[in-house]
Each structure stands twice: as structure tokens, then as C-alpha cells.
């Protein structure tokens, strides 16, 4: 890293603090209407309706989980029918070994559907959120540690096409942000 770049690291984004969940909610609506794309809000607790205020679309997670569930279901069907109808058909209790032996198979189909879709949901959330992640530029900002206690933050990232250090800073001050600070990436 050259000396010039070390003194002037690229900006990560602009952070602003808000007094309450209500002001954060209203600020989010204004940032959404201003047309920003790469930004986020941070609060100590989930705020009802925030996804609408932020203009977030529907998460694709539901469709991914559906595929996972379908995969689990198909696995169970094949796992049960291939051995017990074709490879090793055993007649137990005089029960059929063809398609109509389905009742005892249902619990396994059900369980595998649930299991694989739960796994898909769990890992899907990780992947969609780009987790696990060891560090984040926001953690360098000392005041941010209060976000799990009593502080409400809004961050607009520098990756946003409408981002500019001075204008975004002024915009956040206009919509009621306090302690507006430009954060720099640390690596």
C-alpha cells in the first residue's frame, strides 16, 4: 500500500444516529424515496414495518426453501421405494410392496422435507447475508457499540451510485441525523 493511499483510505460510508425507532423509521422512508440502493439501518430491536419503510422487496429465501423441501421429499421417495419395492421387496404383515405401501413412508417423506428445508433456511440465511464474516468497518466506529443497547443508526454505503461524501452527509443531516460521520474502510 502506497503512502498516499494510506493517508486517504476509501470511504466505507456515512453513518448517522437517530433518537428513536420512530425517527429512524421516518428517516428510512426519506432515504428510500431519495433513491439510495446500498444502505442499511441498525437498531437494538426489530422494528415492525421497517422492511416497507426501507423499500425492501420480497426475500428470495422462501423459493430457495421450497426447492430444498422438494429435494428432501424426492430423496425420501427414492430412498424408500427403490429398496423396498425393487431391490429387496419384503412382505411384512401381508402389506403390499407396490405403490400402495405409501402410508408408512409418509412420516419419512415428511421428516426429510422438514429437515432439508430447515437446513436450506438456516444456511440460506447465512449465504444471503454473506456470513460468516469476521469483521465489518462499522465495528471501528466506537459509538456503534451502543447499537445493541439504546442507539439507532442509519448507514449509506459508498458503493451506492448516488453516494458522495459531502452531499450524502448533508442529506443525512437534513433528515434529522445526529453525529453524522464518514467512516473509512480499514483494509
Amino acid at each position: 500500500m502506497s503512502a498516499a493511499a494510506a493517508t486517504r483510505k476509501p470511504a466505507f460510508g456515512v453513518i448517522a444516529e437517530f433518537a428513536s425507532a420512530t425517527t429512524l423509521y421516518e428517516a428510512a422512508e426519506k432515504v428510500r424515496d431519495a433513491g439510495f440502493k446500498f444502505w442499511d439501518v441498525h437498531s437494538p430491536f426489530p422494528i415492525h414495518g421497517m422492511n416497507k419503510a426501507m423499500g425492501l422487496g420480497k426475500s428470495p429465501l422462501g423459493y430457495i426453501i421450497f426447492c430444498g423441501g422438494f429435494l428432501g421429499f424426492t430423496t425420501a421417495v427414492l430412498l424408500e421405494y427403490i429398496p423396498s419395492s425393487f431391490l429387496f421387496p419384503l412382505i411384512v404383515h401381508g402389506k403390499p410392496v407396490n405403490f400402495f405401501t405409501v402410508p408408512p413412508f409418509f412420516p419419512i417423506m415428511f421428516e426429510l422435507t422438514i429437515l432439508i428445508s430447515a437446513f436450506t433456511a438456516f444456511f440460506g440465511v447465512f449465504i444471503l447475508n454473506r456470513l460468516p464474516r469476521m469483521h465489518h468497518p462499522l465495528f471501528d466506529y466506537a459509538a456503534f457499540s451502543r447499537v445493541t443497547n439504546d442507539a439507532f443508526f442509519l448507514v449509506i454505503e459508498s458503493g451506492d451510485p448516488k453516494f458522495s461524501e459531502t452531499e450524502t452527509r448533508g442529506f443525512l443531516e437534513d433528515i434529522g441525523g445526529r453525529e453524522v460521520t464518514v467512516l473509512y474502510a480499514n483494509d
Binding site: Y25, I47, K58, G62, F66, H93, P104, F106, P107
Partner: protein
């Protein structure tokens, strides 16, 4: 929070004068069907095919409406017990529907007079050699204390009507009282009563399932049966609540009910479709696997000849179709699509009741009878008439409930 401009709406009163013609049509059709059905049924000699057809058609129609109404009642007590805020705006409709339950006593009376054609333990208990199955269960129908015989079966029937009648009227009356004084103590009192209400509801529903649904064949027993009837009832009750709310909104009332409320009701409808399938299958699989004749007989009877077609269709129609249909957010939030599936589920509930009751009288496959339809009309039309009249008296939503605002600005 973005709805900080939201104000509490004024109470709305339903104007039933506008649909007087519908009301008189309901009354006319209802009275005609009631008269024809009862005359045909009671003119037929006891034990004849026609009398048995009437008895089971009436039982089928009675149980169809009765289970839907106890489903509506279930949603009131769950609403209070969980102290939930989302459904305040639709709660009055649950109360209006559940308050029809006392009237069901009137429609139960014909069943008492044709009891010998429905419940075969009544004739079997007098035979000189008692069936061993009945000998073990006779205390369930009649209690013997020396020479004193207590008709436990009929005492239970009175207890069901007493519980459902008083509880449904209590919740409606208290909710209406709150409309005038807005005192939060009524909410707290109703919550307090809802907890014992849930226990009594569970006990009554389970025993109703045994008494009225399955004891026409006293040999059969299944501990899942009460839950199965409950699962179908709660789903059908929610479907009817959805239809009433959407109809009222369509008629220009309850304008503040929006897709968020539909979404929650759709989710509950989906939940209870899954629950119905889960319980129905669990019961079926255990009996299929154990293969004990007195248990399998119930399902054998319902899976021979054309009954098999109806039962297979029921599994697809009551579980698979609503499941895949309601899985998507779009269908739950759209009033027209949600109303369509609610109609479908009420239709499937007819089929569910039909394939439970009718194989008793037509063991060789299903035979539609005009008495089935007339019985449905004879009970359904008067109930609809009473319901519409009941809508008119009071506000269409609990206008001074302390949590009304919370319900208005609902978001999922």
C-alpha cells in the same frame, strides 16, 4: 408508525333493510325445506329406509353447521387467550357467528326423536345377550347405579349446548358492553374466562366427535378422532369468518380491513389445512399399520366402492389443493383469491362430513338423496337469516376495544 395520522373509525351499523328481498328469500326457502324434510322424515315409519335416510341426512347437515360454528367459537377464545391484537376488527364477526350456537339446540331436537334410527347402541343395549363391545362401553352411554339408569349420553348433549350457548353469548354480550363504556376491564375479564373456555371447548369437541360423529357405530374407537373433528371445524370456521368479512367489505362496511388482515387469516387457513391433513393421516396410518379388525372396519367401510373415490378426492381437495394454493403470499393477500379458497374449503367440509356420516346408511357406495340437500337448506337458511338480523343491532367491529388501533395498523 407511518400511520400516525390514523384515527379510530366510528362504529358502523349494518343496514339489513337493503337486503330485505334476500332475507325473505332465505326465510321462504328455509321454511319450505324445513317443512318438507320434517314431514317426509316423520311420516316415514321408524326403521324404514326413508326414515333412516332422513335421520342421517339431518345428522349430516346438523353436524356440518355445528362444527363450523364451534370453529368460529374456537377463534374467539384463542383470540382472547393469546391476547392478540391483530383481529380486533374482525372479532365481532366471530362473535356474531358463534352466537348462533344456542339456535342449534332447536335443530338438534329432530335427532332426539329419530335416535333409534341413528345410534344403534340404543336398540342393541336391550338385546338379551349384550355385544361384548357394547358391554365394555355401556357406561359411556348409560350409567347404572343399582336400579337407577342415568342417560349420560343425553346429559352430555345438554352440557354441550349449555357450555357453547352460554359461552358464545357471554363473549358477544361482554364485547358489546365494551362498545358503550370502553372499559379495558372487560378485555381482561374475557381473557380470564377464555382459559377455562379452551379446556371446556377441547373436552366438549372431543366428546361431540365421539357422541355424534362416531357412535352410530359404537364398535369403533380412535383417540385421534376428536382432534380430527376439531381440525376440520377450526379450518372451516376460519373460512366462514373470512367470507363474512370479505362480503361485508364488499358491501361497503369495514373499509379499514386490508390485505394484512387477510394475510393473517390466510395463514391460519393454511395452518389448519396442514393440521387437518396431519391428524387425518396420523390416524389412518396407525390403524392401517396395526391392522386390528375393529379399527380397520371404519376405514374399510369408507373405502369400498364409490366411497373410495370420494375419500381420495377429500384428501386431495381438503389438504393438497389448499396447501399448494395458500403457500404463496399473493393468494393470501388477495381478497378474491382468498374468498375462492374459503368457498372451496367450506365445500370440502361438506364432503368431509358427508363421507363420515353417510356410509352408515349407504354402505354399498354413495347415493345422493334430495333429503341431503333439503336438510342443508333447512338448517342453513334459517341460520343465515338469524345471522343477518344479528348483524344489524350492533357495531360491526368492537369500536371501543383498547387494542383497536393496534389492529388497524397491523403489518405482517
Amino acid at each position: 408508525m407511518s400511520h400516525s395520522h390514523l384515527t379510530v373509525p366510528k362504529p358502523e351499523i349494518f343496514e339489513s333493510r337493503k337486503i330485505n328481498r334476500v332475507l325473505s328469500a332465505l326465510l321462504g326457502i328455509g321454511a319450505f325445506s324445513l317443512l318438507v324434510t320434517l314431514i317426509v322424515g316423520f311420516a316415514a315409519p321408524g326403521g324404514s329406509d326413508l326414515r333412516r335416510q332422513f335421520a342421517f341426512s339431518w345428522l349430516f347437515a346438523f353436524l356440518y353447521f355445528f362444527t363450523i360454528l364451534i370453529g368460529c367459537f374456537f377463534w374467539i377464545i384463542v383470540h382472547h387467550a393469546t391476547d392478540s391484537g391483530w383481529g380486533i376488527v374482525v372479532r365481532r364477526q366471530m362473535e356474531n357467528l358463534a352466537s348462533l350456537l344456542p339456535w342449534m339446540l332447536l335443530f338438534f331436537l329432530p335427532l332426539f326423536f329419530v335416535r333409534r334410527d341413528i345410534w344403534d347402541w340404543i336398540t342393541a343395549k336391550d338385546s338379551p345377550v349384550l355385544d361384548p363391545h357394547l358391554r365394555d362401553k355401556i357406561g359411556y352411554f348409560e350409567l347404572h347405579f343399582g336400579s337407577l339408569v342415568v342417560p349420560f349420553f343425553w346429559i352430555r348433549a345438554i352440557l354441550y349446548f349449555a357450555f357453547f350457548g352460554f359461552a358464545a353469548l357471554y363473549f358477544r354480550r361482554t364485547s358489546i358492553r365494551q362498545d358503550s363504556d370502553g372499559d379495558p376491564k372487560w378485555s381482561i375479564q374475557m381473557r380470564g374466562f377464555s382459559f377455562p373456555g379452551i379446556l371446556l371447548f377441547a373436552a366438549c369437541t372431543t366428546f361431540i366427535a365421539f357422541d355424534w360423529f362416531s357412535s352410530p357405530d359404537y364398535r369403533w374407537a380412535s383417540t385421534m378422532w376428536g382432534v380430527y373433528i376439531f381440525a376440520g371445524a377450526a379450518g372451516a370456521g376460519m373460512a366462514l369468518i373470512i367470507l363474512v368479512v370479505i362480503a361485508l367489505k364488499h358491501a361497503g362496511y369495514l373499509r379499514f380491513v386490508n390485505e394484512e388482515h387477510y394475510h393473517i387469516m390466510g395463514k391460519l387457513l393454511l395452518t389448519f389445512s396442514i393440521f387437518w391433513g396431519y391428524i387425518g393421516f396420523s390416524q389412518y396410518m396407525l390403524i392401517w399399520y396395526a391392522n386390528i379388525p375393529e379399527e380397520t372396519e371404519w376405514f374399510l367401510r369408507r373405502n369400498i366402492e364409490s366411497w373410495n373415490v370420494l375419500n381420495t378426492f377429500l384428501v386431495i381437495g381438503r389438504f393438497f389443493i389448499p396447501f399448494f394454493y395458500l403457500l404463496f403470499q399473493y393468494t393470501k393477500r388477495n381478497a378474491k383469491l382468498l374468498a375462492a379458497i374459503s368457498f372451496w374449503i367450506l365445500g370440502m367440509h361438506i364432503l368431509d362430513t358427508y363421507v363420515t356420516i353417510m356410509p352408515f346408511v349407504h354402505p354399498r357406495g354413495f347415493e345422493l338423496s334430495i333429503l341431503d340437500l333439503l336438510s342443508l337448506l333447512a338448517i342453513g337458511c334459517p341460520l343465515a337469516f338469524i345471522f343477518v338480523r344479528r348483524l344489524g343491532g350492533v357495531s360491526l367491529f368492537p369500536s371501543r376495544d383498547p387494542r383497536l388501533l393496534e389492529s388497524l395498523k397491523l403489518s405482517n
